[in-house]
Homo-oligomer: 355 residues x 2
């Protein structure tokens, strides 16, 4: 058996224990745990438990602060500029999105921008915070350089994700959570581990030539791929995210963000959190949202292809499976990894179901 | 000689004359003329003089109103919901963006959504209105169905463009103005007219199969192309635009928008206009913007490729050429088309340079 089920709360307790063991404020550890579990629960395993060691290293190496408060540097009726104070990304993100929601309740929209932040897990976590308050939520972050500009050779932008979430009726929703690159780095790494080739419009080598062998990876291509298939649009979207995050906030910018593997430098990421209150616009928002979502799903699919999905459906299916099986199914290697952290930090490992 | 130069102001006067001749309020005609000229001046000829007959037909056929005012249905400190009152798209767009700018000056951001609008020309015109006030501008519109969802066969969304413009130093700027489809319909039509094939990731036939013969076009693919190269991200972006426009405003939605060729039905488009005031965030916004833009451009390009560009650079080059040659260079067929309109409406044709 290569997968083991762990109840969500047991993973949460484990992540919290680990973060507290390296000196993290308990409520900060709790917020981080919520975000990482949301990643795994939604099926984005690259952004869940799998990344716990990065956060531990950041705290242990003091490149990220274990305690403190984000600081509001400036605000108006609908906006705020925040210094994340080099705290854990999820702590900064939750603070900023809650502020955006508060502003949206009165001013119709809240647009909050932070500098001095760190990796914040899945971007969708923050848009969902707003959605759970019956608002449209958006979040953006810049990131370590991995993606080339059109006609460029070197990693320039991060995968610069954007997310938009909107509520529909009966718990249904639209939840877009996407990198502005063709694919995430994880997909190329996975092909490499499996000794498989990749489609030639995903990535380039150090001369800027498109590759099919993942071992030659120098940079990912922006959404759209090469210039001929409009990769410059993905490049433009990556720059839009950089604008909303780094340029508005005054954080580190694009290639000046620390490298992916670097845990010794301060990340100083820029992030942006938006809440929009549909009540300020046409009545019946969730009805129209549900109609549109259903209309998409009810289309006849291309012959031989599965049903038409809406952004958020694959995650919904993953959550349903988790609920059915009583927790998250981790590959045994991930449990070994977690047990290794436990023994290193001298804490209790995650409790695994015996089935 | 297949191109003729027409001074910007002479084209403006002609467009205004034509629109007034079919009964359009003079100030509305003036606004439309400004937007169409901006399309041609920036090099987007598919959205300029070339579309004048569509606007004339809409007014003549009374599917669009020739006079009146947009109506504010609801507003808060940072938002407004507007009924475009079925006026010309540029009249609605200018009204809404000016309102967004006014709100952004005080509340930090203005987010204005309109229903009851019509084709508004290049989306970039509106983001530039905000940029000219030293703000970040954004605009979105839904449109007649042309683009399939991932796994779908039929046109579902419009090309649903989005635009983001931001000022840098010394008149420099970032101006993204893009359809959320791989390419615009015009590129497929152009290949058809030239009897050329198209790349297989641009469009599909009526069975949802990817095509290389433009004659088999049934729907465009969303940005990213097929599912394998992340076309579902472009599909998600198209739906995000639909959310900001139709769903927030209560306008016609996605496949229920009138067909591209239909001038007899009311379009009832949804549009969204946003202005963000950088002064509310970190000081030195335009310095950081200039640094980022220059950093992009100064990269060494891939061997054999031209310089790395930033969104807005191709348009800048086109405007420079127009200024140098004293006006816009129209293909002689476009002048013939304009002269035809002139004789039909019994008005003076555009004044053409004699060179």
């Amino acid at each position: 058996m290569s997968y083991l089920i762990v109840a969500k709360n047991d993973i949460k307790l484990f992540i919290t224990r680990a973060m507290v063991a390296v000196g993290t404020n308990a409520s900060h550890a709790d917020i981080l745990a919520d975000v990482l579990i949301a990643g795994d629960y939604r099926g984005h395993f690259s952004h869940g438990l799998n990344r716990l060691d990065l956060y531990l290293e950041d705290i242990k190496g003091k490149s990220c602060k274990a305690d403190g408060q984000p600081i509001i540097l400036n605000e108006s009726a609908a906006t705020a500029w925040v210094d994340g104070n080099n705290l854990l990304g999820p702590v900064v993100g939750k603070f900023c999105m809650e502020l955006a929601i508060k502003k949206a309740k009165e001013a119709g929209i809240g647009w909050v921008v932070a500098k001095g932040s760190n990796h914040f897990g899945i971007a969708g976590y923050y848009s969902l915070l707003a959605m759970n308050e019956n608002m449209i939520g958006m979040a953006f972050t810049n990131a370590s350089p991995l993606v080339a500009t059109t006609r460029g050779k070197e990693p320039f932008f991060g995968t610069n994700p954007l997310t938009v979430a909107a509520p529909a009726n009966n718990g249904d929703s639209f939840v877009l959570d996407m990198a502005t690159s063709v694919v995430a780095l994880g997909k190329v790494e996975l092909a490499d581990r499996k000794d498989e080739s990749i489609p030639d419009n995903w990535a380039i080598d150090k001369n800027g030539q498109q590759i099919t062998d993942p071992k030659n990876l120098n940079a990912l291509l922006p959404l759209g791929g090469p210039e001929k298939s409009s990769g410059y649009k993905g490049y433009g979207l990556a720059m839009m995210v950089e604008l909303f995050t780094a340029i508005l906030s005054g954080s580190a910018v694009a290639p000046n963000v620390r490298k992916w593997s670097d845990n010794h430098t301060t990340a100083n990421l820029g992030q942006c959190f938006v809440a929009i209150n549909p009540e300020m616009f046409a009545p019946g928002f969730t009805d129209r949202m549900s109609n549109l979502i259903d209309h998409c799903r009810n289309q006849e699919p291309v012959d031989g292809q599965p049903n038409v999905l809406v952004a958020g459906d694959p995650e919904r299916e993953n959550m349903r499976k988790c609920d059915e099986q009583g927790g998250i199914a981790y590959h045994i290697n991930q449990i070994t990894f977690a047990n290794g952290i436990a023994s290193q930090l001298n804490i209790e490992p995650p409790k695994v179901h015996s089935d």
